[in-house]
């Protein structure tokens, strides 16, 4: 995504159970129910990598937002 601009992130939980979308880098914590969707605002980001994870499946549910 472009750096320096706010954005909206839409998250879809395809599991049957709830998950918490968590990123200390993006400053986001949001619980999303099983099979539900949610959206969060991203603040304008400096160029860089911003990792996130599903807190309830820390080992496997990982990703990164790249701002450039």
């Amino acid at each position: 995504m472009p750096a320096g601009k706010p954005a909206v992130l839409n998250i879809k939980n395809e599991d049957a159970t709830a998950e918490e979308f968590d990123s200390s880098a993006l400053k986001i914590e949001k619980v999303i129910g099983g099979g539900k969707e949610g959206s969060v605002r991203l603040r304008p980001l400096d160029p860089g990598n911003y990792p996130f994870m599903g807190e309830y499946h820390e080992d496997t549910a990982k990703g990164v937002v790249i701002a450039e």
């Binding site: 909206v8 709830a18 998950e19 986001i28 619980v31 820390e58």
Partner: protein, 282 residues
Amino acid sequence: MLATLLIVFREVIEAGLIVGIMLAATRGVPRRGLWVSYGVVGGVAGACLVAAFASEIGELFEGSGQELFNAGILLLAVGMLTWHNVWMASHGRVIAQEMRQVGAAVVAGRRPLAALSVVCGVAVLREGSEVVLFLYGIAASGGTSALGMMAGGVLGVLAGAAVSALIYLGLLGIPARYLFSATSGLITLLAAGLAAQAVAFLQQAGYVNVLTVSVWDTSWLLPEDSVIGRLLHTLIGYSDRPSGAQLVVYGLTLAIIVGLMNLQPRARVVSPEAAAEMTSSP
């Protein structure tokens, strides 16, 4: 199992720190254990309710229900902590005197214990609802590892409670005449940190769209998801990338609480009844 233990441990410590401070702040007050227990039990019940209705809460206010709910209960806690500190500013000296003269047991029980009870409840509710959702997910997914992970969850709760108890005992090591200023200071910083967290939730939901840019980035020095970063986040609201609005609200909250505390007439008499009269007609 270890991963489960760590996740649960982390959440329990965050709530436990706050409960420990509340207990230390009410040292020597009769029936404080009861009030704090009300808060904790209420928080656990609330956590189960919030977890059960997580999706429903989330869908309110066009999908921002969860953020508004979190911001709301955080601000409720900020209000209660402010009330407690302002009350202590006018009565604390009297209580400290009494503790020296007649021992802890006779200290008047007029303090706003309900306020601290609510704060404990909010802390347990917030962290607890995450634990409940997490453990429920494990239980629901079944499988052979589920039992071991549940055991990890239980151990995590016990370990978190044990560390929280140690922190409480550490706070009790502070001599009585400094204890109230120490806990008042801790509570002021705690309240400012909670207010800043509430702002983060409002920004995440798009209700506060000013000063959203991060003011600094200290994640290379002290990442917020490290152990110390998390403890400081809970205790004083440390953030490795705070937004401008968070900093403004943090500073405002500090200024308001300290200002209100200094506006209180200092009672110098011994009996709490007389102190109460002095504050009502300064």
